[in-house]
């Protein structure tokens, strides 16, 4: 499936760049509006074209959640086989965004450490909450995108996450 994924180029996103505020985007974030954790990428890219900045933010958020999935899988390998497909989806989304994000911004994206709860059931619930937060975040970024194609891509990613949440594997 990855082979058929659309891949965004930075050139395409820069071509859509116009006025718009990464600063406003990052300043308005508040807990519960879809943003799971503050990521350094948001502050590291104030001069990027708006949609490139959105791609950078989206990539950071997806990467952070994917790492949370993988950390949880390592903690409970026998009970989280169903999360393999979730991690695979995140990797596909990262691949679709990677070319749109400047190398310098990518290197700044170090997700905060993810603490896995001690009990598998709670770990699964917490991870599902993170996925739901990511879905809301992708929807919010889609709303802000200037390029229609990029907005569709982000919204589709959010819908893909929603499908995974709706079919969340039991532990």
């Amino acid at each position: 499936m990855s082979a058929s994924l659309p891949v965004l180029s930075r050139r395409a996103l820069l071509a859509t760049g116009a006025a718009g505020g990464l600063a406003a985007l990052t300043a308005c974030e508040a807990p519960g509006d879809g943003r799971a954790d503050a990521l350094p990428a948001a502050e590291a890219s104030p001069s990027l074209a708006p949609d490139v900045a959105l791609a950078t933010l989206a990539l950071a958020e997806i990467r952070a959640v994917r790492r949370a999935v993988e950390t949880t899988r390592r903690a409970f390998p026998a009970r989280t086989a169903g999360l393999r497909a979730v991690a695979s989806m995140h990797r596909s989304h990262e691949a679709a965004l990677a070319d749109a994000v400047p190398d310098g911004a990518q290197t700044a994206l170090t997700p905060p450490a993810y603490d896995v709860p001690a009990r598998a059931a709670r770990a699964s619930r917490r991870l599902r909450q993170r996925e739901e937060q990511l879905r809301r975040r992708l929807d919010a970024l889609a709303l802000d995108a200037e390029s229609g194609a990029f907005a569709s891509l982000l919204a589709s990613m959010g819908a893909g996450v929603a499908q995974r949440v709706a079919t969340w594997p039991t532990t």
């Binding site: 879905r135 919204a155 589709s156 929603a162 499908q163 995974r164 709706a166």
Partner: protein, 154 residues
């Protein structure tokens, strides 16, 4: 000639205007309402699965979306597109699996239309399109669709 399950968006033209995109979404919802009603009426009485309930729920949600879009387009000063007089129906559509497959096709096509609408709109209209895309993607799961990395696009 019967329209297809989505109401037949014209893919040969350029990018749609926001209003055109909303009209296409409305046409898709008209088609979904019509086809899901047809499918719901064909669920065998002996079927003990949740299919009848799922079809009924999907019908209600698409009808609500259709009505919302109709009002939205009218508020924009345009004439909302009407339901087609005829739709190309799935054939055969008698076994529960065939009915599920047809409903899945409806949801996946509506999701594609909403994904296009996301790209053609902004603000509240785009917010509505994002929600429509997500709703169809999740409903498709109930009819046996496998999760997709990019619903509406792949």
């Amino acid at each position: 000639m019967a329209d297809d399950l989505t109401g037949g968006a014209d893919d040969t033209a350029g990018p749609p205007t926001p209003l055109e995109a909303l009209q296409r979404a409305l046409a898709a919802e008209h088609a979904a309402v019509w086809v899901l009603a047809f499918l719901g009426a064909r669920v065998p009485a002996t079927d003990s699965s949740a299919l009848a309930d799922r079809l009924a729920d999907a019908f209600e949600e698409h009808r609500a979306s259709r009505d919302e879009l109709t009002a939205l387009v009218a508020r924009a000063g345009a004439e909302p597109v009407a339901s087609a007089t005829d739709y190309e129906l799935p054939d055969p559509a008698s076994s529960p699996e065939q009915l599920r497959g047809a409903a899945r096709t409806v949801e996946e096509r509506v999701a594609r239309t909403w994904a296009e609408t996301v790209g053609a709109t902004s603000g509240d209209d785009r917010r509505r399109a994002i929600a429509g895309l997500r709703a169809s993607a999740v409903r498709a799961l109930g009819f046996g669709a496998a999760p997709s990395d990019l619903p509406g696009l792949s």
